[in-house]
């Protein structure tokens, strides 16, 4: 088994601070599916692009690092035997059918503070 990070790209995150449970219902349902089937290792939903701040050597700017139609709206880590299996899981993300997409990257290593595990 190997771990893969799945980065979610879409026009913006649905997880605004004021988001209602309905706003994030499809995300939650998908997350529950992956958790239930035992493939989910960790998952993070990020706040929208308006909350982002980018830092370069001499500059701090408002907004995402790359100026693009899509932003990373969240990411999660799954466990799968090979890339084909990981891609099959990634493809079930609702964002794929909603004009966005996901990027799958093998995880090299990770750390989580023990009290956050």
């Amino acid at each position: 088994m190997a771990q893969y990070a799945v980065l979610i790209y879409t026009h913006d995150s649905a997880h605004a601070p004021e988001a209602t449970p309905e706003d994030i219902e499809s995300c939650d349902r998908h997350s529950d599916e992956l958790t239930g089937s035992g493939v989910m290792v960790a998952a993070y939903a990020l706040t929208p692009r308006d909350m982002a701040t980018s830092v370069r050597e001499n500059m701090i700017t408002d907004g995402p690092f790359i100026d693009s139609k899509e932003v990373v709206a969240g990411f999660y880590v799954i466990e799968a035997p090979d890339l084909d299996a990981a891609l099959a899981i990634a493809k079930t993300n609702p964002v794929v059918r909603d004009g966005g997409g996901v990027e799958v990257r093998p995880v090299h290593s990770s750390y989580l503070r023990p009290e956050n595990r």
Binding site: P81, D82, L83, D84
Partner: protein, 436 residues
């Protein structure tokens, strides 16, 4: 002692015919494409010495596979500590039911207990070539990397030769191949034949690679010669291999037919000075009739299937063009109908552009020009040199020579192949010399 020339000939033949089989089986043992490649290369080198003294074996592929696997096992034993930290080729965990257990040396728990006396006898081993092909043509690899990797690993073409064929610097090509092999290992692209549910999509990727290879050979993207025969031969060889391995796939047969028809006209596509000859002006008596007949038999069988796929229909179109006694007698209405079917399974603007050619014969150049202008507005073919070339031809036929000359100039700007450039320059001179 065996005659050195006979050994060299046998070895060259084994390289051409059996490289893929030997490498695919060795990769199973080595679980690392680099190591497998190295071991297979060494096996071929040692065959040169060994066969000269011991004679040419009855089954060269078996001899080579055994030699390559032994080397792989030696290296694995010697470097087990180092290799424990390397990402290894991923094999599917469980599918031994339909597979004879006689393949690789047992490594890891799942092979334990499956060892047999014939474990090193490749004539008993399952054919792993399909695994190798599907791994090289995995959609997670870039298209140019898929092509390069297939040439290197499946066809055994040396990296410098691949670099030359695609007019890329050798280090660039080497880096491309290395990067692809690394991704296969690190991202764990599995070394297996796709499951039936994934097969159609994955097979499309494989056929696309073979077709790209053929196209790159048939109309070299740039450079002086129109055809690069070695690439065409490799594509043909791969297609025959696929047919042998997947005899029931109609799209494989369709691709084979398409390559046969296209290649049957090779001798007449350019004149003695390497200048391009239009289909209408080609000497049909010099076409390879045996190849055309073989293609036609394939196509007839495939067209009977419920929903013929892209390659079957492309082959049917090419074959219909070739069937007519001369260009004027081509069955244009039937061609338009086939293009419509093709657009149904493969809605590509390139197909729509090609459809304009028979459409001009059926409905007149004005109607075809309107279609080409529609495609131009859509923008999907921006930078595609054949759009202005087709447009120029239609404009010339409508007597709008100044507009035709403009379009020929546009096509010239986009064309790098010398033979095609010479052709377009000629056409431009014709249109520009006779202003409307």
């Amino acid at each position: 002692m065996t005659d050195a020339a006979a050994v060299e000939a046998a070895l060259a033949d084994a390289h051409r015919r059996e490289w893929a089989r030997v490498l695919a089986a060795t990769a199973r043992t080595a679980r690392d494409l680099d190591l497998a490649e190295e071991c297979v290369q060494e096996a071929y080198a040692s065959a040169l010495r060994s066969w000269a003294t011991a004679g040419i074996p009855d089954n060269p592929a078996a001899w080579l596979t055994t030699a390559a696997r032994r080397r792989a096992i030696d290296v694995i034993r010697r470097e087990s500590a180092l290799r424990a930290r390397l990402p290894l080729l991923v094999e599917p965990e469980a599918e031994p039911a339909q597979e004879p257990p006689s393949d690789a040396e047992p490594r890891g728990q799942w092979r334990e207990g499956q060892r047999r006396e014939d474990a090193m006898d490749p004539t008993q081993a399952p054919d792993d070539r399909l695994r190798l092909i599907f791994t090289c043509c995995h959609p997670a690899l870039a298209a140019d990397a898929q092509v390069a990797l297939t040439l290197r690993l499946v066809c055994g073409v040396a990296t410098p030769d691949i670099a030359r064929a695609f007019l890329v610097a050798e280090p660039t090509m080497a880096a491309r191949i290395t990067r692809a092999k690394k991704k296969i290992a690190v991202a764990r692209i599995p070394y297996r034949v796709p499951r039936p549910a994934e097969l159609p999509e994955r097979l499309r990727a494989v056929l696309n690679v073979v077709h790209l290879l053929f196209t790159a050979g048939h109309t070299a993207p740039s450079g002086p010669s129109l055809v690069r025969a070695d690439l065409v031969e490799r594509a043909m060889h791969l297609t025959r291999m696929l047919r042998e391995l997947m005899p029931d796939e109609t799209e494989v047969r369709g691709l084979h037919a398409l390559l046969l028809v296209t290649d049957a006209r090779r001798a007449t596509r350019a004149d003695a000075r390497g200048r391009l000859i239009r289909l209408a002006d080609q000497d049909r008596s010099r076409w390879d009739l045996a190849a055309l007949a073989e293609a036609e038999a394939l196509i007839t069988g495939c067209l009977r299937t419920a929903r013929p796929g892209r390659y079957v229909l492309q082959a049917a179109i090419a074959s219909l063009y070739a069937e007519a006694p001369d260009y004027e007698q081509t069955d244009w209405p039937q061609l338009v109908a086939l293009y419509d079917k093709l657009l149904g399974v493969w809605p590509s603007p390139v197909v729509a552009l090609n459809r304009a050619v028979p459409l001009a014969m059926v409905a007149g150049p004005e109607a075809a020009l309107a279609e080409v202008q529609r495609l131009e507005r859509d923008g999907g073919l921006a930078g595609y040199q054949y759009l202005p070339a087709v447009k120029a031809d239609l404009l010339a036929r409508l007597g709008r020579n100044a507009d035709a000359a403009d379009a020929y100039r546009q096509a010239l700007e986009l064309t790098a192949n010398e033979a095609e450039r010479a052709f377009l320059t000629d056409r431009l001179a014709g249109a520009a010399g006779d202003p409307a």
